[in-house]
Symmetry: C2
Subunit: 371 residues, 2 copies
Amino acid sequence: MMRFSTLLKHPAEWMRNSGPQNEIVMTSRIRLARNLANLPFPGWAEQDDRVDVMEKIRPAVEDLSEMRDAFSEEMTSLTAIEKQVLVERHLVSREHAAKGPGCATVMNRKQTVSIMINEEDHLRMQSIRPGLQLSAAYQSLDKIDSDLENNLPYAFDGKYGYLTACPTNLGTGMRASAMLHLPGLVLSDQINQTIQAANKIGLAVRGLYGEGTEALANLFQVSNQTTLGSSEEKVIEHLDKVITRMIDNEQNARQKLIEDKATMLQDQIGRAYALLRWAHIIPSKEALNLLSMVRLGCDLGIFTGEERESINVLLTEIQPAHLQISAKRKLSAEERDVLRAEIIRTNLKGLTEPDFSDILTPPERDSTEDE
Amino acid sequence: MMRFSTLLKHPAEWMRNSGPQNEIVMTSRIRLARNLANLPFPGWAEQDDRVDVMEKIRPAVEDLSEMRDAFSEEMTSLTAIEKQVLVERHLVSREHAAKGPGCATVMNRKQTVSIMINEEDHLRMQSIRPGLQLSAAYQSLDKIDSDLENNLPYAFDGKYGYLTACPTNLGTGMRASAMLHLPGLVLSDQINQTIQAANKIGLAVRGLYGEGTEALANLFQVSNQTTLGSSEEKVIEHLDKVITRMIDNEQNARQKLIEDKATMLQDQIGRAYALLRWAHIIPSKEALNLLSMVRLGCDLGIFTGEERESINVLLTEIQPAHLQISAKRKLSAEERDVLRAEIIRTNLKGLTEPDFSDILTPPERDSTEDE
């Protein structure tokens, strides 16, 4: 079995590696909800029933070939900080982290497949991949799902499909999502329009961090809302198409910003670079937004070298639980802001000074020098 | 006579040079208000009377030995931008710049003595010196005042002293002031207490830029309020004593910040350095506050080399009229923010990367590394 400390030492594979369209698509994720037949859903179950369900499911999950030397723990045996680390890595939901006896989590060594037992449903399994790889993520999870189905009696209805605790998951039980970095659409004030257009065709778009409509780091999660009346393949194909269009829109928005607002880009990216290198106290929100601007700078060729990976890893590792694990003690908010700044400075040492010559096209330059 | 373009090319001598206590005291200034006997004050005078007064006073002022090759103009012959440049250099009051026929300004080549004709009083003369030099500034202005008094019939009352348009100037007609840079007292939240203490002993303290209680760039003007019942020498001696105490308080506040809040100082000064070097759009308020932090950094030995002079000059030259003169055309607010950033980047090229080792005393370092 894998120890928590080993898990900690290694960023998840989807954070480090890059996949197709990785300039704009950070990750693709598939989640399946499953339940055992004739047993109450976790929310209605007594504690004994939940423990019972866990004891049925957990051995089957640990037996999966994907789960060789996996990390497998009951939630009650993890500390508050350890659970929060898993939440910050998107390996466990915030709700699951708060649960008691009978709830467990199993994940593979690469942290690309994570299975929650007794979350909202008896089984919540997810597969995460870097870049735009919804189909690949689905196929790997579908195989795991089939293996489990051979050993566990799933609650399945011939007419509706998989039965789930919440009716919004009934049918496929699948939520497919991608995390997109959309600074171009945000900076050009097109993001709300983009979100509304996606909503109209049955997709949900929400900020990854932050509350309400706030989207820190310009990161957005796009996901399907339909689980009934459409096959998994159709849903993924649809989402894939929309995301491809959003990528085009984002690229166009960036091109337009270069043409019309190069000075604003220089200012935003220059400031972000400067502050990440020289600030000594950085609150979380500010850090996320500055990292987003530097990531955009990498995409636009303003920084040489491959720093996108460092930025992807930092987006997770500057969060509170990761900082406290790194400090090996509990930290106050003020102490976290100081350590966050230090970790950022250290991790971005390889960042070259910004070179804006690529985005300063001759017409823009002329108009600036115009008298 | 000196042309406006010549005046423009050279920053005032008090901006470039440094005087005693120049870490904290930017400038010392003496202003004297005088009126001609038996003629209405400018505010009550008809235009013809004002022109009459100007024609009496101006030749006498231009004849002063201090005013050889001086700049001498009627306000109506200057453009709006030119007048604003004089305001931004503190050579002319905002009120005077807005005046019509019969109002003029004469100043020496070094821009250390400036005489307004028909401002609130017939004569408003000021002498500015770098650093804490109130007595020296007074002596040079006193000589000019005596020379003028030999040729012009001043309105003087044996009991009250010099008669002035506003009773708050009656007596000596003198306002003595110093411009202090007090980031230490501001950062340690002691500034309001300092201002209140100064008020109690008859001194006025106000922010140099900004409105109301806002003090941009942490610059404060301290001045006497008394003009009646005390000699010029006594007033200056009193002000000098209080300012010396304020300098001590500011130095103590800085020392305390180094001891207790070194990380905050690192952050503020590091951020200011970073943004001044890398931002491409800087609004005026932000620029003033960032320059203040870098100036503090110079005082604390965080930047090597002598950049205080560049910063003093920049504090004036990033203001709207100076920017537009530099661009040789009218600029929108957005264009000014871009040019301001460019001028700052160019002028601070000599600034070394911040080196905080001097302010990180061993105890502070230990507590940061504590686990």
